[in-house]
């Protein structure tokens, strides 16, 4: 598959949140304000791109050559968990302003299924190195796009009179459903 196709498909067509249902927790949890949604999106994009690189290296240099396929899940999850810690320490040292913006979101990402999902999907589809990196970056952008739109809608929703039982996650899920419906319009655009 061409790189451009992978990139566009990861952002719009097979959107991580709206098509694969990955990263629903931060999508619902951190989408009340556009600012925080934007920071969360950036943090996820950042970690996803790095994860794509690291998981590719582990899979192709260690797991596949030594036929250690059965250690994939364990090694991916451990690497992602330690990676997020490293990134957090690194950002704190290098760029305090960036840490201020992303800091509190980074620990939340460790158990974010979108990151693990990215590593697994890239391995499942047998992507090459460049493809995996583009896929990781594009998926992160797709997540950012979805969470920002969601936050924009929810800011307006605060002013609306939502029936009591629908308040909170229920209406958010229904809004997400309508967004997923809208994103289905992109399907087929790269064909």
């Amino acid at each position: 598959m061409e790189l451009v196709a992978i990139f566009i498909s990861a952002i719009l067509i097979n959107n991580f949140v709206l098509y694969y249902f990955l990263g629903i927790c931060p999508f619902l949890g951190v989408s009340k304000k556009i600012d925080s949604a934007f920071s969360m999106g950036l943090a996820v994009t950042f970690v996803m791109t790095i994860t794509a690189v690291v998981s590719w290296v582990i899979n192709h240099w260690i797991l596949i050559p030594h036929e250690l396929d059965y250690l994939k899940i364990v090694s991916f999850i451990l690497v992602i968990a330690s990676l997020v810690q490293l990134v957090e320490m690194f950002i704190r040292k290098i760029s305090p302003p960036l840490y201020q913006a992303l800091g509190i979101y980074l620990p939340l990402i460790t158990t974010n299924c979108a990151i693990m999902g990215l590593a697994l999907l890239a391995a499942l589809r047998d992507y090459g190195f460049a493809e995996a990196v583009i896929f990781g970056f594009g998926s992160g952008l797709g997540f950012t796009l979805a969470i920002i739109i969601m936050a924009g809608i929810r800011e307006q929703l605060d002013l609306a009179d939502v029936p009591a039982p629908l308040k909170g996650p229920a209406i958010a899920l229904i809004v997400a459903g309508i967004m997923a419906l809208a994103f289905m319009g992109f399907v087929g655009m790269i064909k």
Binding site: M1, I13, L68, V74, G188, I190
Partner: protein, 201 residues
């Protein structure tokens, strides 16, 4: 014991236990998983190249493999082309059976797809799509008849009926087939198709 030593000891032993346990599980299931994959391919070959009793892998690259189907006497009865490409939603993987001269199709099977259920997913349906692929002229490129005609006899020998409401999925399958046929002809011309290929395994 000091806390830090205890931490290291506990983590190491958990890691070792888990690793050796998984090695056992991995070892026990490895053959069966490989067998399942092989069986899936073999069944598809038998389905698309009728008369096949054994098959051999003749060529392999990413997104394209060519298998040869052989009858009981060990003579080649046709090729099975295993190819994938982008569909409406995601990747489509298919297996196309042809005769030995790559001029006529035998049958088509869709092995993997994520097209829209009820619309594009009809590419896996025999009556609405797959039956049109049987015994087509594929010496040139195959084309789609749009809009679909109700009587299959009206189709040209190299034409396929479009699925109503799922033109893009039909086109996606068509383009995967045409591209892979083209590639296979090129491979044969360059003599890259191994004649003494190993058995499928």
């Amino acid at each position: 014991m000091k806390l830090s030593t205890r931490m290291v000891v506990v983590l190491t032993s958990i890691g070792l236990l888990s690793g050796s346990f998984l090695a056992t599980v991995g070892h026990l299931t490895k053959e069966r998983i490989a067998l399942n994959k092989q069986r899936e391919i073999e069944e598809a070959i038998i389905q698309v190249v009728p008369g096949t009793v054994s098959s051999q892998k003749l060529y392999e690259e990413r997104d394209l493999s060519v298998y040869g189907g052989k009858n009981e006497e060990g003579n080649l009865v046709g090729f099975a082309i295993h190819a994938s490409g982008i569909g409406f939603q995601d990747k489509i993987t298919l297996m196309l059976g042809t005769n030995t001269s790559l001029e006529r199709t035998n049958r088509l099977a869709i092995l993997d797809q994520k097209e829209t259920p009820g619309l594009g997913a009809k590419i896996t349906d025999h009556d609405s799509f797959l039956k049109y692929w049987e015994n087509r002229d594929c010496s040139g490129t195959i084309s789609l008849r749009k809009p679909a005609v109700s009587a299959a006899e009206k189709l040209l020998p190299s034409e396929i009926n479009t699925i109503t409401g799922a033109t893009i999925s039909s086109e996606a399958v068509l383009s995967i087939v045409n591209t892979s046929l083209e590639q296979v002809r090129e491979i044969i011309k360059e003599g890259k198709l191994s004649s003494e290929a190993q058995d499928v395994n």
